[in-house]
Amino acid sequence: MEEIIVIGKSNPGVYPVLDVWGWEISVYLFLGGAAAGTLFFAAIGYLLGKEDALPMSVKNAIHFVPPALLVGLFLLFLDLHHKLNVWRLYTSFSLESPMSWGAWTLLVITPLSILWWLSYHYSMVPRWKRSERWLRKISNWSVRNRKILAWMILLTSVVLGVYTGILLSAFNARPLWNSSILGVLFFVSGLSVSAALIQWLSASKFETALFRKFDLGLIGLEIFLIIHLFMGLLSGSAVQIQAAGLFLGGPFTLSFWLMVFTLGLIVPAIAEVLEMFGTRVNKLVVPLLIIFGGLMLRIIIVNAGQVSSF
């Protein structure tokens, strides 16, 4: 038997349970992942010459991306305890700090996403702004250089998508997070959220059907990655086995397996299979459940990771 009494420690947010990152970080990771997924599909669709066959993914889904990235950045800002110093993120770069990687990636990818939007939707710029010569110049440049933009977006979207998981997995002190699978899992989850949105909003039957298939594949991949996340934890050290226990009988069991696994992955996958075989399912079911599952995945992993410790 072992009994531990801690005397004098009273730091709010740290003791008795670490709870220093709240919903802002979870939602930021979700928006970053969804934006990365959307940008990835836009760039790859364009590079494969499917601009006309896949109008939603290449041209139109981009409407969501700059707002999502800006809201995400704002949430990251909200999370900072010393907001006036935020500029210091951009006067240094630390190779070993995921926070630094993320800040710089967002600084690159946000303007890229705006350029991509301009290259297709310059006509939506308010009339009084369109007279600005510099804006037209930028827009014309982005139309001419879509291929370069697409390559840059492809690369940075993968970095952003993977980063949303690496931000957590780089912490050795939190055994649940300390798995490189989180990077891939969060990127795949971001792609899945984007694929669900595209199949919901696309007017093209071809595109809807294609992204339904993509999404099914991505859900399958996510399930595979979640299984491997637990396999890795369970074959790890004592603290990692303990961390896995949070989801296998511990306090996060019901929320994770019900909200993320069943409602966020299994049910939408069944709905998509039914749709493939011609059953009519309400168009909102799949995107809403996938978005819900993706958001819950981040919220639960962020919270549970802070509970797991040495």
């Binding site: 038997m1 072992e2 009994e3 531990i4 009494i5 801690v6 005397i7 004098g8 420690k9 009273s10 730091n11 709010p12 947010g13 740290v14 003791y15 670490l18 220093v20 990152w21 999370d79 900072l80 305890h81 010393h82 907001k83 110093n85 935020v86 210091r88 993120l89 006067t91 240094s92 630390s94 070993e96 700090s97 995921p98 926070m99 630094s100 800040a103 780089a170 912490f171 050795n172 002190a173 939190r174 050290s237 603290v239 802070q306 410790s309 040495f310």
Partner: protein, 177 residues
């Protein structure tokens, strides 16, 4: 120069004077602490043991908090003391997440805070406040690189342990057992 601390768990009585001295010397706001005391009871009667440990930042050689800091606000200064430059800290709390000892917290003024080994005293040749206040003189502080220092001798001759060696942080607080 490598500053280190050794805490004699055989002499510590868990009075928490070190916690109070630290709070006063460093003017820690109410409700926060840079140091604390762990009382650990182990075993089954009659085969039991009790250990008191005064704990704080371990000033790790391989400090995860320094590595994950995006702005360089967390840094290791001369002598291996891990410090936070308040003027550079953005308060992202990544370092709080990164510490396996949960030794850091967010100061109400917005920056990450933790034990500094009383750097302001040490740099003037004095001891950290917790060392001098201890009624049983169970805390030793000094330069581990100096073979003649008290701390070098005590770490050399006494059996000691560090906390969570499996975290790979290479702590510089030794608990004499």
């Amino acid at each position: 120069m490598r500053y280190a601390m050794a805490i004699d768990t055989k002499k510590c009585i868990g009075c928490a004077d070190c916690v109070l001295a630290c709070n006063m010397e460093n003017q820690i706001p109410e409700g926060f602490t840079r140091s604390w005391v762990v009382e650990m009871a182990k075993g089954e009667y009659p085969d039991t043991m009790l250990e008191f440990r005064s704990e704080r930042c371990n000033h790790c050689e391989n400090a995860p908090c320094v590595r994950c800091c995006p702005t360089g606000a967390s840094f290791t200064t001369e002598g291996g003391i891990v410090l936070v430059d308040e003027s550079k800290c953005i308060g992202c709390a990544a370092c709080v997440e990164s510490c396996p000892y949960d030794a850091r917290f967010m100061h109400p003024d917005g920056y990450a805070d933790k034990c500094t080994f009383c750097y302001h005293l040490v740099s003037e040749g004095q001891n950290p406040a917790c060392v001098d206040v201890c009624p049983t003189k169970c805390i030793y502080f000094g330069d581990l690189d100096d073979a003649d220092s008290e701390i070098s001798k005590i770490v050399e001759t006494r059996k000691s342990k560090v906390l969570l060696p499996e975290a790979g942080t290479n702590p510089h607080i030794f608990y004499l057992t």
